[in-house]
């Protein structure tokens, strides 16, 4: 069965468009749900909701700071899910957090909590293929789509195994590094998109190091779209408000639509 994340992305792709998945740090600011809704209205196909973890080894300074601010404000996995349960967002959501948040709650309970809050997908960047089995079973059972990451370092024989296990979409890691805006798109972004497109019909989105509309357009010439994290979160940290964040997402949408 195809989940809500994949369905939404396929709808965009089938219409000849490119997918846009912005990342919003859950609980960052009292108006964070307004931001999520505004970003949906600005043309996001799916929204990634960051669930803060104390030790986010895959994240750069921007998302680390957003994490810390949210945690200091008392945000927990439960407050985020409670907020989401009552939110009318209009597009599917996928939670991105780290393995211990899910493991500590219990994989089954965590998966069921996501489903109960209306969250469709989940990304655990420190739970690779070798370790994902137990979580993925619980997620499958609860109807939650487990997005898998594929990095430039993966040898060719590894990619088919990753895309086989992926639900929702395949998340191509755009560069050797952690999340954050870079001045130029890395060559590895286009390369991983091409390698993944060569082995799967599932939606292939590239994130990590995709920080401007121009970079999004460039990589989307090969990929089915992009995940944009730090650039969006930076706007939140700068107190741009829901409109300010949505305006940036609108720029990405417009650039992808015009390309």
């Amino acid at each position: 069965m195809t989940g809500a994340v994949e369905t939404a992305l396929r709808a965009r792709i089938d219409a000849g468009g490119k997918c846009l998945v912005p990342y919003i740090t859950g609980g960052l600011g009292d108006d964070w749900l307004d931001t999520v809704r505004a970003v949906a209205a600005a043309g996001a196909d799916v929204i990634e909701i960051g669930m803060p973890f104390s030790d986010p080894v895959m994240d750069g300074p921007t998302i680390q700071e957003a994490n810390d601010r949210a945690l200091e404000a008392g945000v927990t996995p439960q407050t985020i899910l409670d907020d989401l349960r009552h939110a009318d967002i209009g597009v599917p959501t996928a939670v991105m957090t780290y393995g211990n948040i899910a493991y500590h709650m219990g994989f089954e309970r965590f998966a069921n909590s996501l489903a109960a809050a209306g969250v469709s997908g989940c990304i655990l960047p420190d739970v690779p293929l070798e370790e994902v089995g137990e979580w993925a079973s619980a997620a499958d059972e609860a109807g939650v789509e487990t997005v898998m990451l594929a990095a430039p370092t993966a040898p060719d024989e590894r990619l088919p195994l990753i895309v086989e296990r992926a639900r929702g979409f395949v998340y191509g890691v755009g560069l050797l590094g952690i999340t954050g805006v870079r001045s130029a798109l890395a060559a590895s972004a286009v390369e991983i998109a091409g390698r993944l497109k060569g082995v799967t019909d599932k939606p292939v989105l590239v994130g990590v190091g995709v920080g401007t509309p121009e970079q999004a357009v460039e990589v989307s010439q090969v990929s089915d779209g992009v995940v944009v994290g730090s650039a969006v979160v930076q706007r939140m940290l700068d107190h741009a408000g829901p409109e300010g964040v949505a305006a940036l997402v609108g720029e990405f949408r417009a650039a992808l639509d015009e390309a």
Binding site: F53, S54, D55, P56, V57, M58, G60, Q64, D68, L71, T76, P77, Q78, Y98, G99, N100, I101, Y103, H104, M105, P125, D126, V127, P128, L129, E130, E131, M148, L149, A150, A151, P152, T153, A154, P155, R158, I162, V173, L176, G177, I178
Partner: protein
């Protein structure tokens, strides 16, 4: 039981694994293959042995501590890792890892450090092999271990401050992992303890096994073929303990890990996933990792290596807390009675003996004197107000 190889998926019982970003999985797998290959290659073993003998100063002696033993009512033997080059056991693993990194064609090593001992050892090995070296160290630790920061710089390493979170060892590990994610193609992550993703917990223990193997032989000679009643070591991540335990896991000796009370991961016994493996981990009700608090920068870590979690869960080893105050007392006692100023880390093991003197009365106790206390003298001047 013995301390053998983990399972193919890098597990010791329920603990261990390879919980790293996808970018690092191929590097961990490559390291696993390279280590297996090297460890089974007599030429590699000979080269490492030669370095350990001619550069690090092995074998380290076993010292019987008569005056301290008299004071504490038991027979105490020190395994003198404090006499190694760079002042602690850390050199064993670092020479092994640097040799392996060279064999793998890596040109740079990145390391994390708490007290600075592993950072100094890493910088030393990098200098020896002509490799670049980047060391992450928490801002708080940089302040309390200034001498080691300077030593690393003298040795040609670049010391970078880990300014996030608690600004101690845990955060230095985060930063080192982030660096490795960005530089994985030409850089070896020289992890300092028996933690992290597979194969690190196993590999680092094997490089430190020499402590246990030598001790076993030295004890047999001294004890008429016997083994000590207790083998005691301090535990943060647990590398020196893993090394000495490995020599005695198949004997009747009781294995004791002394944890700082403010960083007692095993004492709390809640499993969690951080820094690449599943093990016992100090965390809050939502799984957020807590900050450890210890007088000793080297033990200021909220987790413990996965094999120790397994040794604890299976009942083969005991892990018990000692307080900072008990450690300060043991630090002074050892200095006064034996003329050996211990590292604050190693003083945890002595504090356990003092605390448990009723239990250990008349017994023979092997202590891993894992490092020397020169680096702690400044800090102790403040603590003792002299």
């Amino acid at each position: 039981m013995t301390m053998a190889e983990p399972t193919e998926s890098g597990r010791f019982g329920d603990f261990g694994g390879m919980y790293v970003p996808e970018t690092l999985v191929p590097a961990c797998q490559e390291l696993d293959r390279a280590f297996r290959d090297a460890w089974g290659d007599p030429a590699f073993r000979n080269e490492l042995d030669h370095l350990l003998r001619t550069y690090a100063g092995r074998p380290s002696p076993l010292t019987e501590c008569h005056r301290l033993g008299e004071e504490l009512g038991c027979r105490i033997l020190f395994k003198r890792e404090d006499l190694n080059h760079t002042g602690s056991h850390k050199i064993n693993s670092v020479l092994g890892q640097a040799l392996l990194a060279k064999r793998m064609g890596k040109t740079r090593i990145v390391a994390e450090t708490g007290a600075g001992q592993h950072g100094v050892a890493s910088a030393t090995a990098a200098a020896l092999f002509g490799m670049e070296c980047v060391v992450y160290m928490g801002t708080v630790d940089i302040e309390r271990q200034k001498l080691n920061v300077f030593r690393m710089q003298l040795l040609g390493a670049e010391v970078r401050a880990a300014e996030t979170g608690s600004q101690t060892l845990k955060d230095a590990v985060n930063e080192a992992m982030r660096y490795w994610v960005s530089a994985v193609e030409d850089t070896h992550y020289c992890l300092g303890s028996v933690m992290g993703p597979h194969p690190y917990p196993w590999m680092v223990r094997e490089f430190h096994r020499v402590i246990g193997d030598e001790s076993r032989e030295q004890c047999a000679e001294l004890l008429d073929g016997g083994v000590p009643d207790y083998v005691v070591a301090c535990v943060g991540g647990g590398s020196n303990a893993a090394g000495i335990f490995a020599g005695f896991a198949d004997t009747d000796a009781q294995l004791i890990g002394a944890e700082p009370a403010g960083g007692a991961a095993v004492g709390r016994a809640v499993p969690g996933i951080v820094h690449g493996s599943k093990s016992y981990l100090m965390q809050d009700e939502w799984g957020q990792v807590l900050e450890a608090e210890s007088i000793s920068a080297g033990l200021d870590y909220p987790g413990i290596g996965p094999e120790h979690a397994h040794l604890a869960a299976s009942g083969r080893a005991r892990y018990e807390p000692v307080t900072d105050a008990e450690v300060v007392e043991a630090f002074q006692l050892c200095s006064r009675t034996e003329g050996i100023i211990p590292a604050l880390e190693s003083a945890h093991a002595l504090a356990w003996i003092a605390k448990m003197r009723d239990e250990v009365a008349g017994k023979t106790i092997l202590v891993n004197m894992s490092g020397r206390g020169d680096k702690d003298v400044n800090q102790m001047m403040d603590v003792l107000g002299s």
